[in-house]
């Protein structure tokens, strides 16, 4: 034992700098895993820990209908002291707001929220000037608004605005709003008193208002309240939730995000592992003689292997510790750069669990990837000391130990991937994907070396020499190709995916998205809206009826969302469906089963469902669905199944009725407007529309596209950051691989100098070699990236994919540049060393 430690110590003492360099690759990987995991865990704590503040209550009942007396009576029966300590009712509705001043232009969709005392039950409600919210601000037609509203409509505190036909005075601007999850919103938030909102006439017939009753319960009473409310109300029309429910589902989502993200960290780590494997191989090669000597003075192969393994472990731990420091630095960077757009109570500390996982991962990856090259230690023959050149011809020989270790290494990496992904399936898929990418690159490298061997007779001297260097014994061609190629692959893939996504949502280029949607048009307003649109814009608006319906029975059976077999379909069965009725199919629809109705109306209810619904709770052609439409039950027969091509649609309906049955059901109309791109014309039209039909809302698609684009660019930034990490470790491996073969290069260069080669020629040889390496790595990386972006676009995002050669070419060019630059810089002393000393010692 003593000897093993002594030897490891002495070896490290002389070469730790060069070796640690490689373990920096491990550090980068550990750093990204620890940073990502800590970040997500902190986010989870900040968000899920605040679930009560987000709900602003311990529990809530939520509905999209008006409260009916029966339900209120049931709630009254359950929600009373001592279980419930306080309650507040709120109404939320997206609606249009416009300045009361007729001379001001513009109208804006806002997210209106009507509140009553004692809102909020939980959470901080603070105004921009630092004061706490006071209920008197909204009493008697006051409004408290988000800063964005003032900015967009050029208003200030004290100005008056119109919502519907009612006038409100702006009395405050929010800074911290209770219950804001930072989620996606159609417009800025506006708080008013609930009474005034009802009086504005916006929450009437068919509106999209969302009503909630919030409860503050006794300690631990939330669960009990939810259970009893569910029992009383049933749970299809009234959603009952406690803050713990949302905490749980948030926690699950975060855990999944954490696991997927740390897989990307694992990619960096595996790259680091490849680096470690390569350094260990070269290191053992260089220590061949020392190992032989030690065998001559009595050391056994297994003890020597143990000594070198000890070194790998030591360096692995050192690299991993460095990684933890890197993670800390990364979190500090995030704090300084992105703190504004992140939750205020977010911590930027490292999580001990994440750090421990990172250390474990770093160590395991180091050992796993060093295992195969370390086997060579046991195989070195001490006899080489007597006959220097006697390197027995190493042909292919089946070696059970080697294969056994290889299988163990593979199993180990699969285990690590499954552990990190939190799922064996995902872990294996990850490993498979990585294997395919690595296999491609390796095959490309092999093909390159093979071709070069044949091509070395061609071209000028520099190129021939460069080609020679690439297949010299102990060359690093494959390792460099693998590392740089994987890095290029990930970065190019992310870039081209982003480009495709941006193109998809770019309205100006894609004609199929309208510039504006009109919603909440009442039946008696349809003609008026048509006229107004034609008069103001010269366009024709096509208005479709929409009916909101919930599914209460399938094939005569009640939907019980708590039943085990329904759990998985909760999302599909529990939601509210927006349906329409029409006599014909749209151009983007095809019938895949059953028969579509003819154009005559029928009083008997008939529906056509979208493919996605087929099979849900056993639904198919011939079955029946019972809908609840504003309290009225309608049972409809499924007569056909349609497929909707969502990519070519502006509207798509999962459930479509045959005209006749719903003609008199509560309904509103929606319409799409095309070609209204000019900003001032749009503002004028919106103002005119809302003035005449205050209940009609306008969704400005350009606005939405913009905010989606912002979210997207944040995601892209995050992913590019990780891609950058991958590229960084690829570069590290590149530098290290070059350093490892440097002694050969220096010797060759010295010989070439004595033969009359100038430094210019030598530089030419170096650059030609690296340019060739970079070119192949870039080409293979770009090709694989193109394949990945195609697959993800088509099958994950389901968007059109277009080939973008610009990104690939730029990627290849930058890869060549990077490899040449790094290569030339790390080989500078090959050019500058004086040849005589080298030749003497060599």
């Amino acid at each position: 034992m003593n000897f093993i430690i002594q030897l490891a110590w002495r070896e490290l003492r002389s070469s730790w700098r060069r070796l640690l360099f490689f373990f920096v690759c491990i550090g980068v990987g550990v750093g990204s895993v620890v940073a990502l995991r800590s970040m997500i865990q902190n986010l989870n704590r900040a968000v899920a820990g605040e679930a009560r503040a987000l709900m602003t209550a311990d529990a809530q009942v939520e509905t999209t209908r008006e409260w009916d007396a029966e339900a209120l009576a049931k709630i009254e029966r359950v929600a009373r002291p001592p279980l419930v300590l306080a309650r507040a009712e709120t109404v939320e509705a997206p609606t249009m707001l416009r300045p009361a001043d007729e001379s001001k232009e513009g109208a804006l969709m806002v997210e209106l929220k009507g509140i009553e005392k004692p809102f909020p039950l939980y959470g901080e409600f603070r105004l921009a000037d630092g004061r706490a919210f006071d209920y008197s601000l909204v009493e008697s037609d006051g409004a408290v608004v988000a800063p964005l509203l003032l900015e967009r409509l050029a208003l200030k505190v004290g100005d008056r605005v119109k919502i519907g036909e009612k006038v409100f005075e702006i009395r405050g601007v929010t800074r911290d709003e209770p219950g804001s999850g930072g989620g996606f919103r159609l417009g800025p938030r506006v708080f008013v008193e609930r009474k005034s909102l009802e009086a504005a006439g916006l929450t009437g017939f068919g509106s999209r208002a969302r009503r909630k009753i919030l409860f503050k319960t006794s300690e631990d009473g939330a669960g009990e309240l939810v259970r009893r409310l569910r029992a009383e109300l049933g749970n299809n029309i009234y959603g009952v939730r406690s803050y713990k429910d949302s905490q749980e589902s948030l926690g699950e989502q975060f855990a999944r995000a954490e696991n997927y993200l740390s897989l990307t960290g694992l990619v960096v780590l595996v790259l680091g592992g490849i680096g470690v494997s390569s350094v260990t191989r070269v290191f053992v090669e260089q220590r061949k003689k020392s190992i032989a000597i030690l065998k001559c003075v009595g050391a056994t192969g297994s003890r020597l292997t143990a000594a070198y393994l000890a070194q790998v472990i030591l360096l692995g731990v050192a690299g991993s510790l460095l990684g933890v420091l890197l993670a800390r630095a990364a979190l500090l960077f995030v704090q300084s750069r992105f703190a504004e757009s992140l939750p205020r109570n977010l911590s930027y500390d490292l999580q001990a669990g994440a750090a421990a996982q990172g250390l474990g991962l770093g160590l395991l990856i180091s050992v796993l990837f060093a295992a195969l090259p370390l086997l060579r230690v046991g195989r070195i023959k001490p006899n080489m000391l007597l006959r220097e050149s006697e390197d027995a011809a190493r042909g292919f020989r089946f070696d059970p130990l080697r294969w056994g270790v290889a299988v163990c290494v593979l199993a180990g990496v699969a285990f690590l991937a499954s552990w990190q992904a939190g799922s064996v399936r995902v872990g294996l898929f990850f490993l498979g994907g990585l294997g395919v990418a690595a296999g491609l690159l390796y095959a490309a490298a092999w093909a390159l070396v093979f071709l070069l061997k044949r091509a070395r007779a061609f071209g000028p001297f520099t190129v021939r020499q460069a080609v020679n260097s690439m297949h010299r014994p102990g060359n690093q061609t494959r390792v460099i190709l693998l590392a740089v190629g994987l890095g290029a692959f990930l970065v190019i893939a992310v870039q081209s995916l982003q480009a495709n996504l941006l193109e998809e949502i770019d309205v100006t280029r894609r004609g199929s998205l309208p510039s504006m949607y009109l919603i909440d048009v009442q039946k008696d307003q349809v003609e008026g809206v048509r006229e107004l649109v034609a008069g103001e814009t010269g366009l024709t608006a096509e208005l479709l009826p929409t009916v909101r319906a919930r599914i209460v029975k399938v094939n005569g059976r009640d939907i019980d969302l708590d039943a085990v077999e329904m759990r998985r379909e909760r999302g599909r069965l529990g939601r509210e469906y927006v349906t329409t009725y029409r006599p014909r199919l749209e151009a983007n629809e095809t019938v895949v089963a059953g028969e579509f109705w003819d154009e005559t109306p029928s009083a008997e209810a008939e529906v056509s469902i979208e493919e996605a619904l087929r099979g849900t709770a056993g639904l198919d052609v011939g079955g029946t669905i019972t809908f609840d439409i504003q309290g009225r039950k309608i049972t409809a027969r499924v007569t056909s199944v349609r497929r909707v091509d969502w990519r070519n649609s502006r509207t798509g309906f999962l459930v479509l009725f045959r005209p006749g049955a719903l003609d008199n059901a509560p309904q509103t109309f929606v319409g799409a407007l095309d070609g209204l791109t000019d900003v001032t014309r749009r503002a004028r039209f919106e103002r005119a529309l809302v003035d005449r039909f205050p209940n009609v809302s306008v969704i400005d698609v350009a606005d939405i596209v913009q905010s989606v684009g912002r979210i997207l660019s944040n995601i892209t930034l995050a992913v590019s950051f990780i891609g950058g990490f991958v590229l960084l470790s690829g570069t590290l491996i590149l530098v290290g691989s070059i350093a490892m073969t440097k002694f050969q290069r220096i010797y060759e260069a010295a010989v070439l100098k004595t033969l009359g080669a100038s430094r210019r020629t030598l530089l030419g040889i170096l650059l030609a070699e690296y340019a060739l390496l970079g070119l192949v790595a870039g080409l293979v990386g770009a090709a694989a990236a193109t394949g990945l972006s195609y697959a993800v676009s088509r099958y994950v995002f389901e968007i059109d994919w277009s080939f973008m050669p610009g990104i690939g070419l730029a990627g290849i060019f930058l890869t060549v540049l990077l490899v040449c630059l790094v290569g030339a810089l790390s080989s500078l002393d090959v050019l500058t060393r004086k040849p005589l000393a080298i030749l003497r010692s060599g």
């Binding site: 000897f3 030897l7 020392s290 032989a292 003075v297 023959k381 006899n383 007597l386 006697e390």
Partner: protein, 267 residues
């Protein structure tokens, strides 16, 4: 000569062993041959060679390059296995021993000095001598290593790395290392081949003197006739065969082994 040398008088067990042992031969080679594949053809380096070396004898193996001297040494050290035949070290058949068992055997019984010194570049002079002691797990390793360093007159160079030492100094460290575990057999492969004559002479004198006091069996491969002349016995090889095996007789001869005796000892 440093005072750290262990005189033979302090080690009576060595002398006693000679009498008690079943065989008084330290090294026995029976019909060993070595063939290697060189390109398409097989090359025989040693032809069914027989040799017995008694404990404590100083044997010089001479011959032109390519005669198989180094190969012979490698087989005795267990660095390589013969194609056929048997090698006995201290009456123990090493022919079928595994790599690791051979390494342990070398650590206990065999010291080797190479032509190219073969010090470990990442260790200091002292650490190079320490290595075999630490591998065996010997007690008082550090003191013993210091003593050996003093024996080869390099005390002040203890913390220098091989690259900071001259060739002669490196080889002296190598000699000290070879003696570290008090081997029964010392093998030297052209120990002065990479040195100038003055340094070579100094290293050789040190080695022979240290060995004389310890009484180890010394096998020296050389083509320096002057060095070979100081051995008890000279074996000449040519093309993998023994062409001459003569006892030199001289002041340092420990045993008077005659050809008849060698003949009689054969199975």
């Amino acid at each position: 000569m440093g005072e750290g040398l262990t005189p033979q008088a302090e080690r009576p067990e060595r002398a006693a062993k000679v009498i008690k042992k079943a065989s008084f031969f330290m090294i026995e080679l029976y019909k060993i041959s070595k063939t290697v594949q060189s390109g398409a053809e097989r090359l025989t380096i040693l032809h069914e060679l027989d040799m017995k070396i008694p404990d404590g004898q100083f044997v010089a193996v001479v011959g032109p390059s390519g005669s198989g001297k180094s190969t012979l040494l490698g087989l005795v050290a267990g660095l390589d296995a013969p194609t056929s035949g048997r090698v006995l070290i201290d009456s123990e058949d090493i022919t079928r021993m595994g790599e690791d068992a051979l390494a342990v055997l070398r650590g206990r019984k065999v010291g080797i000095v190479f032509q190219a010194f073969h010090l470990i570049p990442s260790m200091t002079a002292l650490e190079n001598i320490l290595a075999p002691l630490e591998i065996r797990g010997a007690r008082g390793a550090r003191e013993r290593a210091r003593q050996l360093l003093a024996d080869v007159e390099l005390t002040e160079r203890a913390h220098h790395y091989p690259s900071q030492l001259s060739g002669g100094e490196q080889q002296r460290v190598a000699v000290a290392r070879a003696f570290a575990n008090d081997p029964s057999i010392l093998l030297a492969d052209e120990p002065t081949g990479n040195l100038d004559s003055r340094n070579g002479r100094h290293v050789f004198d040190l080695m022979v003197e240290m060995n004389r006091r310890r009484g180890a069996t010394l096998v020296l491969v050389t083509h320096d006739a002057e060095l070979a002349a100081r051995a008890d016995r000279r074996v000449s090889l040519r093309d993998g065969r023994v062409v001459a095996d003569e006892l030199m007789g001289g002041p340092s001869s420990a045993h008077d082994v005659r050809d008849e005796e060698l003949e009689a000892a054969r199975p």
